[in-house]
Symmetry: C2
Subunit: 445 residues, 2 copies
């Protein structure tokens, strides 16, 4: 790019029609002049060649992504943050760049959005080997083209008739290998103990050893029985993650048989497939998080996880299961909170998604999650903390509810456990001393 | 996990029924005993809790992923390869671990495969914050459940009637912003100059300023005219990347109007959506590579790009556009060659996909690509090297064909350019001195 050309990829944000642009925050590490690098970065993600040869046309005013802010965070770093096995001449500069990207280039289409803002242009721009898409902001005009969650937090609360506390999920375990009969018995017990939502593991599929149709039928019967016995509505959250062209059929089968919420692994299936399913769905859609960590864990490379939380909400996920607090999930509290906020913060007319930060939770971690989330609008999702509980799933579920009762009463878990055998057993099994951060991982057998 | 338990996640490869297992190679960095870490790693990606509480059952023989080889590459590294902002006690060990994963856990379903082999279990295993899935190998029994490419290399060659040379693609530029009429004129000129395939940019969508239906119609007319004038079959490769539930309709519209090959951004749309489209497609499906680099660029973290290449082939992509050689694409030659090999190497009954390594190519980079690929079974895909050529797309396309003629004749480009004005102009514009690695990026205007 000639020096005289790069100015076409810069703009004064105030001079742009905000309705026409998505705003993108990137961290980049570049060599050479950061302004030239940032201009290339915009060119590569929009109109890389802005005129035909021999023509004086200029496609940039309408079609170019434009730098609206560029801050050099560290000039002349000694090297890139990561050794990528490549050599580029010149000093390395770490920058934060804010870009206004015209969404008319692709429209309200999630695959095309991804292709533009974190595709080839983003990751193959000259002199910028290290880049992380940190955040994305949509104008109301763009949001209005998406349906978003059908139920959202309020819809889930109405279905479960729970308004004043977190929603208690549990991952039925053993997650893989049980036949439907044994599996449904575990779900039934967990509902009796006080779980609101008994869920399939995200790896459990529609297999010959545990077919979804049979599983949904048996769990549906067990659910209705538990609802009668407890007087509380319950969810059986069936995993319908599968090939895209089976999702609608599996929705219909699972719901007809007795599932009343559906789990989908958002990224393995694809955000667009979620959006498709959302248009068809008659029950809440709950997203799980496999396949996000590999592009979000590095602090200075890839794509920040909150971008995907926002996109899952936009695609229509009523609840979003995400890596939670504590060392086990290898995510900073700030990042977990950013993902929670991406579910809860205003987003045009798009409903709020229920954030479900999870990972090796048990009764002893509930206070910590509640404190950090700062609202009752979240889901809590133990696995072995319920199903690996020494008294079984009913006792495990009861231990979670007792932990919440203790929090509401303002009583320490240790004190509350004196009169509550399930909570006491959980603390013995999963770590009385370290009730805030203990993980049941090492105590599963 | 108690010490006595981890042996259930190890196996002698020779004792396993090979038809039942996918083989996975991972690089991991762990703390603590590598054997315990590897056992956890298997548990997390399969049956994390292998028995019900109070039961002596053991689900592991059938359902556990199993370590079949574990090599400590570097014991007691001073720290993890990447600063992840987390602290784990103990020495860090870098290991290579080979795992046999029972595919009966999920079946021949791509989203479920991803969820198992690079999902939560892989990236949230205790004491293993750094992990890269390096490679994946499928038994014939598993491959047999996939259709793979419908046309493959041989089918593409039959359609184009080209058997003895690479396939010459070109990305019509300006990529974003032109109306269909101007866009089709550029494609027409490039075909006349000698391109086999004129393609939409991967960011070009079905927009109001360039609707796919109109574009396909005009390009279809232009294509047939070029075929008559040149006597050679041509492809108009239309990008139908869009929301999943529009793919089949867009296929039908594009093909009815005049596109005879279709571009899809594999990862933004989702591998499963490609597989769905494959079952419906009447023309070759060509995959593009946005949204892979954020998973694959770090040497020791994420997922190796060849895994995605194999999965795109499995999903049915007849050709796979991938980052190519040269510094611009920030990928080592070894990794590019691994991706080429993932297209060409035997894979059960699955047809070969045409590898199309690309990135800032022009006439001067063809020899290098050919040398490194080592066969004529590849596609070559310049953008500005054709459409930013000073003599326009016809001249740009001619320069590519002349470069190939020079290679076949064993004549240097410089010598061949003496009598070939298009090649000479390309060398003047894109770098006569550095014909092997020069990029047209800085000469586009």
């Amino acid at each position: 790019m000639k020096n005289a050309d790069w100015s076409g990829f810069f703009a004064d944000a105030k001079a742009l029609n905000q309705d026409d642009y998505i705003i993108l925050d990137y961290y980049i590490e570049c060599t050479g002049d950061p302004q030239i690098a940032a201009a290339h970065f915009c060119a590569e993600q929009s109109t890389a060649q802005w005129h035909r040869m021999g023509s004086s046309e200029d496609l940039r005013p309408t079609f170019a992504a434009k730098v609206i802010a560029l801050d050099v965070l560290t000039a002349k770093k000694s090297c890139f943050s990561y050794d990528l096995g490549i050599h580029l001449d010149g000093d390395v500069h770490a920058c934060r760049v804010r870009i206004a990207h015209p969404h008319g280039n692709f429209g309200a289409r999630l695959p095309n959005l991804l292709s533009a803002v974190c595709g080839e242009g983003t990751f193959f721009s000259p002199a910028i080997p290290v880049v992380k898409l940190l955040d994305i902001f949509f104008p109301a005009s763009y949001l209005a083209e998406f349906e978003g969650p059908q139920f959202g937090i309020e819809g889930i609360r109405d279905l479960l008739q729970i308004y004043d506390r977190p929603i208690f999920f549990g991952v039925i375990k053993p997650n893989i290998g049980l036949p439907p009969e044994a599996f449904s018995t575990l779900g039934y017990q967990s509902w009796l103990g006080g779980l609101d939502v008994a869920k399939d593991d995200e790896m459990l599929a529609d297999t010959d050893w545990c077919p979804l149709e049979k599983r949904a039928a048996l769990l549906g019967i067990a659910r209705r029985k538990a609802e009668l016995e407890t007087g509380c509505p319950k969810f059986y959250l069936a995993n319908i993650t599968d090939e895209v062209d089976r999702l609608v059929d599996l929705h219909d089968i699972a719901v007809a048989k007795g599932a009343n919420a559906l789990l989908i692994n958002a990224m393995p299936v694809g955000l667009s497939a979620i959006r498709m399913l959302r248009r068809h769905a008659r029950v809440p859609l709950i997203a799980h998080f496999p396949f996000i960590a590999p592009f979000s864990r590095l602090p200075n490379f890839g794509i920040h996880s909150r971008v995907f939380t926002k996109l899952q909400r936009l695609a229509g996920c009523d609840a979003i299961i995400m890596p939670g607090f504590g060392e086990r999930m290898q995510m900073s509290d700030d990042e977990v909170c950013a993902n929670v906020s991406a579910c809860l913060a205003p987003m045009g007319e798009i409903k709020r998604s229920l954030p479900v930060p999870g990972g090796s939770d048990w009764a002893g971690t509930l206070q910590n999650v509640y404190d950090k989330v700062g609202t009752v609008d979240f889901g809590f999702v133990p696995g072995r903390g319920v199903f690996g509980h020494p008294l079984g799933p009913k006792g495990g579920a009861a231990s979670i509810r007792q932990a919440w009762d203790a929090i509401v009463a303002g009583v320490s878990l240790a004190d509350y456990a004196v009169d509550h055998v399930e909570l006491s057993a959980a603390m013995d099994a999963f770590g009385r001393k370290t009730a805030v951060n203990a993980t049941p991982t090492d105590d599963e057998s």
